[in-house]
């Protein structure tokens, strides 16, 4: 096989959308796409993949209900050796970050992560990725290799459309799993109970590290009050405890789609953008004209947010 091997991802009984995006990338690259789906009951998850991959291998074992790299690795390594794909592809997710480098390390394969674009160039892989917090784009031309392991940034490719491929599936019941190390999955934990649900707000005033410290939060709150808006934030603000975690927008926080998203002192790293880029109108205030937030915003203001905050509040009677 010279095609792409996709490692499917699922959690708590649902296939993860990012898997379909990997299939979209696989189909865009051309050639055969084969998907490995490891689960306790893979048949129940196979529906969405069928019609979007050429080959589908379903591996069933009760211990595969939750992801565990030690249980995945022997199965995936065997499949890579047997199929010899040019590319092994999976999402750049909490699962992909745990699995891809381990797979590449154990097989001695080249590894590229968080890719936003992939293409073949005379049998060698070219890769695009965002670096330096999204302020620059990196392009890598890899040396020719039989197989490359790659993870894909969420949203970089469209999900493969249904019916894009005719699927031949095959079921394998695993009697034994062969972990190298005794890592054990214990339990899932649900997120914190919220004080407010930022996903429900019509207008979000969202603050990033540029807000400087907890003492400045009241200024942003004052504007939010004047607008009848809710206060949200980027990750560093929640990490530092300036606002509760439930206010965090982004891949590891909440996805929001308010009518208006007013971003103050947020650089616009990919993980933040992923949670807000579909907002109705995005207005960004940042002192750095090159901040990546201006690539997704509809309106941009290059200014010190502490000058803008009081003036804007004033205009709404605050």
């Amino acid at each position: 096989m010279s095609g792409v091997l996709v490692i499917a991802e699922h959690r708590q009984g649902a296939l993860r959308e990012a898997t379909l995006e990997c299939l979209g990338a696989a189909l865009a690259l051309g050639g055969e796409a084969t998907t490995l789906l490891l689960a306790d009951a893979p048949d129940a998850l196979a529906g969405e993949i069928t019609g979007r991959t050429h080959g589908l291998k379903l591996y069933a074992h009760p211990d595969l209900a939750a992801f565990n790299p030690e249980l995945y690795l022997p199965v995936v390594m065997d499949a890579v050796k047997a199929l010899q794909p040019s590319l092994v592809l999976m999402p750049h997710s909490s699962q992909g970050m745990d699995l891809a480098p381990a797979l590449a390390g154990r097989l001695g394969l080249p590894l590229v992560t968080d890719c936003t674009g992939l293409s073949w160039n005379d049998g060698a892989l070219s890769v695009q990725r965002a670096v330096y917090g999204g302020k620059a784009m990196q392009e890598l031309a890899l040396k020719p290799a039989a197989t490359v392991v790659a993870t894909l940034q969420a949203g970089a490719y469209q999900a493969a459309p249904a019916g894009a491929a005719e699927t031949a599936s095959e079921s394998v019941t695993l009697t034994e799993l062969a972990p190298r190390h005794a890592r054990r999955f214990l339990e899932y934990l649900a997120g914190v109970v919220e004080d407010v649900d930022i996903a429900e707000a019509d207008i979000l005033v969202s603050v990033g590290r540029g807000i400087g410290g907890p003492d400045n939060i009241p200024q942003a709150q004052a504007l939010a009050d004047a607008l009848g808006a809710t206060l949200s934030c980027s990750r560093p603000v929640a990490d530092a405890g300036w606002l509760p975690k439930s206010r965090q927008v982004g891949t590891s926080g909440k996805t929001v789609r308010p009518k208006i998203y007013l971003a103050l002192g947020i650089s616009g790293a990919f993980q933040h953008q992923a949670g807000m880029k579909n907002s109705g109108t995005i207005i960004a205030v940042n002192s750095d004209p090159r901040a990546p937030i201006f690539q997704v915003a509809h309106y941009g203001i290059v200014a010190d947010l502490f000058e803008v905050l009081p003036k804007l509040s004033e205009r709404f009677g605050g």
Partner: protein, 261 residues
């Protein structure tokens, strides 16, 4: 518990104007700071040893100027530090870096190795887990809580959409630390001055018995690379004028799009 933390200096880019010089970021005018995620990892390690004894060792791979990232960690309470520094390491890919670091730590007798989830510069999130493979250790990424116990560590891993999971790893193990796991302590200039005299172990390629041709660009998976800044003027419509005018325009947009009076 004997804990090793890998730390790295990265350029502070959030507010800086970036320039590209021969396909790479021009570091000339950029301030180097501890990688945010590594800072959380150092804090976590120091807290574990403060609570239940043991030692924290730091290691960085970088050029001579990067020694300050080790001094900073020592000021936070780490006990010892090693500096992998050799021109032969320049241009190495993460797999090679993992091999170099593995050669330096394999006989260290560490119970736990911590790294950041990723480094803020290239964001590859690869070196830690690759290192675990080189050392034959179990690993877990994205830790937002660590509970070390007898012979194992329970790791709370952050997953997507506000969920997380708990997994148990037998020790010794490698864990990558996510931001927000703790509140890192403040490091003062005085604190750094106090650790000025602590010796930092210097390690070169020769000390590790690594041949030069197995290192650097020659051994890298990458044939060539380039870096580009996104084009200016794409994306947002920039509001122009003085501060008052800009705020008037913003207020008008808020009124129109937000249905505000």
């Amino acid at each position: 518990m004997k804990i090793l933390v890998l730390v790295k200096n990265v350029p502070e880019v959030a507010e800086a104007e970036l320039e590209i010089d021969q396909g790479a970021l021009d570091l000339e005018d950029l301030e180097m700071v501890v990688n945010e995620w590594d800072n959380y990892a150092v804090e976590e390690a120091v807290r574990i040893t403060e609570a239940s004894g043991g030692e924290v060792h730091l290691m960085t791979l970088g050029n001579e100027d990067d020694e300050d990232v080790l001094r900073r960690g020592l000021a936070m309470g780490a006990h010892a530090a090693s500096h992998l520094c050799d021109e032969a390491f320049d241009g190495s890919d993460p797999a090679t870096l993992a091999r170099v670091i593995a050669a330096a730590v394999k006989d260290g007798g560490y119970d736990l190795i911590l790294t950041g989830v990723q480094s803020a510069d290239l964001g590859q999130a690869s070196t830690g887990v690759l290192l675990a493979q080189e050392l034959g250790l179990p690993h877990a990424t994205m830790a937002i809580a660590l509970e070390p116990g007898a012979g194992e560590v329970v790791v709370t891993r952050e997953l997507e959409n506000n969920t997380s999971e708990k997994v148990a790893l037998p020790l010794p193990a490698l864990v990558t630390v996510q931001s927000g796991i703790n509140q890192p302590r403040y490091v003062s200039i005085m604190g750094i001055r106090k650790v000025r005299k602590m010796t930092i172990e210097q390690i070169e390629a020769d000390d590790l018995g690594l041949a030069e041709e197995s290192l650097g660009a020659a051994a890298s998976m990458v044939d060539s690379q380039s870096l580009a800044l996104p084009p200016m003027g794409e994306g947002a419509q920039m509001l122009e004028g003085g501060l008052d005018s800009v705020c008037d325009q913003a207020a008008a947009i808020l009124r129109e799009k937000g249905g505000l009076a």
